[in-house]
Amino acid sequence: MTIQPYRRHRRHRRQRHDERPNLVLAIGAGLFAVGAIALWQARQRAMRHHRGVRDSAPGRTSRRTYYNGLAVTGRSVTINRPRAELYAFWRDFTNLPQFMENIDEVEVQGDLTSWTIRAPAGRSVLVKTRIVSDRENEQIAWRSVDGSDVETEGKVMLHDAPGGRGTVVEAVIAYRPPGGELGRLIAKLFQAEPEVQGRRDLKRFKMLMETGEVSTADNRKPD
């Protein structure tokens, strides 16, 4: 059996789709009825090919990373602790700076939260969010409100990992990089960073929850 590399296989399939309608047309008008069906089927196939077969992967792994002008990024991590414990820790937003490295300050007033986020060049960015969904031990979602420096929304979802392996934590963040000088600053912070920062923050969350501390190779405490 010959196994083709994936890419070549795909190209091969695309060629077949392209050829099919021409072949049908060449058969001629006398076979119009048959040809129309074949043509329609070929178009259906071509359309399906164009749209791609709906797969099981989460949207954040799509090759497309912008939706309606929003950049979307996300990551999941499995943490060897019960769901309720993780939910309770995360739900108290003032806990988050313990593992989110570039958050300087969190201030909570009811369901409004103000986040002071460290930006390059000694600047900081203020993000104000409101909780839009809060399902105990399952999900917390937030969206920015007027007066926030960045338009952003995000959610963290918790579900049991299979086989008693703890909890799968999924975090998804969407944001719209704004304009202006502040925009450039934020873009630098947000375009380069959310994915990297999000990935590292989730890993540090896992460390903290599983081991009670955040791993560091430093031989001395920061001054």
Partner: protein, 389 residues
């Protein structure tokens, strides 16, 4: 404190650096009493491991006395401990499956980013071994900060000399796991390529596990002699055609299990992974890929291939056909040190295992640079160097 630090290719120095302190609740500070130079330290010394920075403290085989403990450490001041070279949290999925070298948490989040693109997932952190494995300061120093000190360190009863237990930190469990990965059955022949420390401990372990015959392959006369004294039959590959010899020494069948302990003792991420070293003479005088290819060709049908020798990247001309068609099984990995330390300590206490034969040289820490130089350039005589701060 004084510590052996990296300054560049073939340039290591003993410098004065800041003392470590307790940073995290589960930390302990160890005052080092003995520390060894490992074959894999030579890869750092040769400058072939990326992510080693000037000033980094080397060394991952060490033991000492507990002088300070964090709030959640289970150690007590004054206890003597051997510290495994793998840093493991004890709480993650992998640690709980005793896959300690696959620990999810010990490698800091930012250095995990360096490994993930190369291997798909990051591995556990190691002491004194480049920032690709966490960048933790190493053990060739007066003091070491030991994270997760409630998981790794093995408490040693007074009365057992340092030299009897020091190698629990790495090479003894590594040789043991190499033999365990052979899944030895009564009557089995095990062939071991490379008679460096790990190869020799693999010989010793395979015999303890009941192998009927162990055949060790190298060319250094002194190392072959050590293997013979441990009970192995030996092949000098400069004198003998190895494949034919192994066939004829196993009744035409081939060894039931083969161990590639060449190039060895390297704890990962070497850019000198075969692609680059294929033409270079390393260790045994042949490239590492050669030993592995030869091991696969020699191994009997349905046999086991155990690889404690480290490969960092890609292997050229891997005999995948022979491997697949013969239905070989492959077991490898960085050593899950903590899985073996308790059992091996008991065997040492009961006199079943003696590792002191390996030590050829003892030097003060201040002379460590001389130790590196000789360990690298005088391999037949300098089998193992132990340093005392």
């Amino acid at each position: 404190m004084r510590a052996l630090t990296y300054h560049g290719k073939h340039d290591v120095r003993v410098d004065t650096v800041p003392d470590p302190e307790i940073v995290n609740p589960r930390d302990a500070i160890i005052e080092v009493t003995s520390t060894a130079i490992c074959g894999s330290d030579l890869h750092l010394y040769d400058g072939v491991i990326p992510g080693v920075l000037s000033g980094d403290i080397l060394g991952h085989e060490f033991m000492g006395r507990v002088v300070d403990t964090g709030r959640d450490s289970t150690l007590k001041k004054g206890q003597r401990v051997v510290v495994p070279f793998t840093i493991s949290c004890g709480a993650c999925f992998h640690c709980q499956k005793q896959q300690y070298s696959a620990c999810d948490n010990s490698n800091p989040a930012d250095t995990q980013d360096l490994t993930e693109p190369v291997y798909g997932q990051a591995l556990s952190a190691l002491f004194g071994y480049s920032h690709l494995t966490g960048g933790y300061p190493g053990g060739q120093a007066e003091y070491v900060r030991v994270p997760y000190s409630d998981v790794g360190p093995v408490v040693i009863p007074d009365g057992l000399d340092d030299e009897k237990v020091l190698f629990l930190s790495d090479i003894l469990p590594t040789g043991w796991m190499a033999a365990e990965n052979c899944q030895i059955e009564p009557g089995d022949t095990v062939a071991v390529w490379g008679c460096g420390p790990v190869g020799l401990f693999a010989v010793q372990s395979a015999l303890l596990m009941g192998a009927a015959q162990v055949i060790a392959i190298d060319h250094y006369p002194h190392r072959l002699d050590l293997a013979r004294r441990m009970g192995a039959k030996v092949i000098d590959y400069r004198r003998t055609r190895v494949l034919e010899a192994l066939r004829e020494m196993t009744g035409g069948v081939g060894p039931d299990a083969v161990i590639d302990a060449v190039g060895m003792e390297s704890h990962g991420l070497a850019v000198d992974n075969v692609m680059d070293t294929v033409k270079q003479k390393v260790g045994m005088g042949a490239d590492r890929g050669h030993a592995l290819r030869e091991a696969i060709m020699a191994c009997r049908k349905g046999g086991r291939v155990s690889v404690p020798g480290v490969y960092g990247g890609f292997l050229d001309k891997f005999p995948l056909g022979a491997f697949m068609e013969k239905g070989l099984q492959w077991r490898t990995g960085q050593t899950h040190v903590q899985r073996y330390t308790k059992d091996l300590l008991r065997r040492i206490e009961e006199g079943e295992i003696d590792t002191t034969f390996l030590i050829s040289h003892r030097l003060p820490l201040e002379d460590a640079p001389r130790g590196y130089d000789n360990f690298r350039n005088n391999q037949d005589e300098w089998t193992k160097v132990v340093l005392t701060p």
